[in-house]
């Protein structure tokens, strides 16, 4: 793709963009830098190179439990949010509904409310109902935050859905279930995948709601928070953070490569 007016390279703009990347990355790269630092205090000067914090990862039961909780909550929340969001988006994009605008506005509410307010409100609800704080309440909180995103992703995917393919499938003798499995699902698959990825990431990284709604079983960000304020095992947290950074970088690049490979033909 060439833009007709991109005749020469704008030196200033390029230099600025590179500086911008530095601004973006220097603070983030401090995390891996200090994960190899041979000292418990996260401040300069660096004390020397070590990999022992990575070794200690496997000997940190609390951290591993928190990681496990985050993965489980993230998986459940992303599946639930995507399922509910898809249903909602399907109805909104295909049927004329009275009061569609206020209803979709209501669904979007968690995006425009500060999370601390939403967390306080959910905390009140949980306390009033008296179910007690647990990973389930954390999951409920995450679900609420993720639903608008899932709904939005699926809505933009389903908006371009051509109804005639449904009719064609029916005319060719397929039942409802087969039509859903063989027509609807493949067409909405890219949307479903990006909704799953997005909501999982949101849940995995969410802090404030988990902080308000968890009790003794905490998620990874809540565990990290306790270590940031009372640093005892901070370098181990940084080691885990670096691994997560590496994993997400690989995933993003892999996703990009796959996408190009599929569209390049």
């Amino acid at each position: 793709m060439t833009r007709s007016h991109a005749r020469k390279r704008p030196v200033l703009l390029t230099a600025y963009a590179v500086l911008f990347l530095l601004f973006l990355y220097v603070p983030i790269l401090l995390v891996p830098a200090f994960s190899f630092n041979d000292g418990t205090i996260v401040a300069f000067p660096l004390q020397g190179f070590t990999t022992r914090w990575y070794g200690e990862l496997s000997r940190s039961p609390e951290l591993l439990a928190a990681l496990r909780h985050s993965l489980v909550v993230g998986a459940c929340v992303s599946v639930l949010a995507t399922g509910l969001g898809t249903l909602g988006a399907w109805v909104v994009t295909r049927y004329p509904l009275p009061g569609k605008a206020p209803v979709t506005g209501f669904i979007m509410l968690p995006i425009v409310a500060p999370l601390v307010v939403l967390a306080g409100a959910l905390f009140l609800l949980v306390q009033t109902v008296g179910v007690g704080l647990s990973l389930y309440t954390v999951g409920l909180g995450h679900l609420i935050v993720c639903l608008p995103f899932a709904f939005q992703v699926m809505r933009s995917r389903l908006e371009s859905f051509d109804d005639s393919v449904l009719k064609a499938s029916r005319d060719l003798g397929e039942g409802r279930v087969a039509t859903f499995l063989r027509v609807v699902l493949p067409i909405s698959a890219p949307g479903i995948i990006s909704s799953l990825l997005l909501t999982f990431t949101l849940s995995f990284d969410e802090f404030v709601l988990s902080f308000f709604l968890s009790s003794t079983e905490v998620t990874l960000p809540v565990y990290i928070w306790s270590q940031l304020r009372f640093p005892g095992r901070l370098p181990v947290v940084l080691a885990l953070g670096s691994l997560i950074l590496l994993a997400s970088f690989v995933l993003v690049v892999l996703g990009e490569v796959l996408r190009r490979w599929r569209t390049d033909d």
């Binding site: 973006l24 209803v103 509410l109 909180g141």
Partner: protein, 273 residues
Amino acid sequence: MSPLLVVMVIGVGAPCLLLLVMSFWQQESYDMAAGWGLGNYVKFFQTPFYQVLVLRSIGVALSVCALTVLMAYPVAYFVAFHVTRYRSLWLVLLTVPFWTSYLLRIFAWKVVLGYNGVINSGLVSLGVIDEPLSVLLYNPLAVTITLTHAWMPFVVLPIYVSLAKIPTELLASASDLGDGPVRRFLRVILPLSIPGVASGAMLVFIPTVGDYVAPMLVGGTSGSMIGTVIAAQFGAADNWPMGSAMSVISMLAVSLTAIAMQFGIMQVRSRAR
């Protein structure tokens, strides 16, 4: 639709209603008897400290919005119009920070701005200063810088998307009709990219006003914000009704500012035409 709505009514409608009701309950304290009434709101407007917190939160959020948009726009422009071969590499590089832990992104700035941090160590070793500066951390500016960095991907991408959508023919015809680069930017590119700017600014404004982590980690006392106080009311201070009233007030303040901001951005757009 209906299962989604049921979850939203239980998870959003009910709690928000409860919050509103709770804000009119007042907890017994040395200057207040328990009962229904406007006590929490009266207390809020009689306590300058609380009002300062709300104003500071909104001020920090607006600064973060302005900074992110001003810093991100040229980069989005650069990628949309001047990068051809390595565009996906650039987009990946601009997205990856979004996938790193939000807590660690905030924490990293404590290491950058801290007493033995990147900036101080750098300046001392260069001989610019003799003693590390302690003014870098624990103030509203530190919160602003930290959140500007933390939310940057949320702004770059929407602006990039709106810029990339501009048809090339439109730019060519602006040039053919005699517009120079500056006029073409002001009359074609800028107005068409305003929706991206507006949605990016919204994505940044709301989480900044209520942010809890950055004020706690890098804000110190002079940089504390309304989110930290609301959280404290539900936690250590244990005054849920006051926390609810503060939440309602912040919601109103956020909505009004957001509407004003959208209106302002749209004004820019219509002026440019």
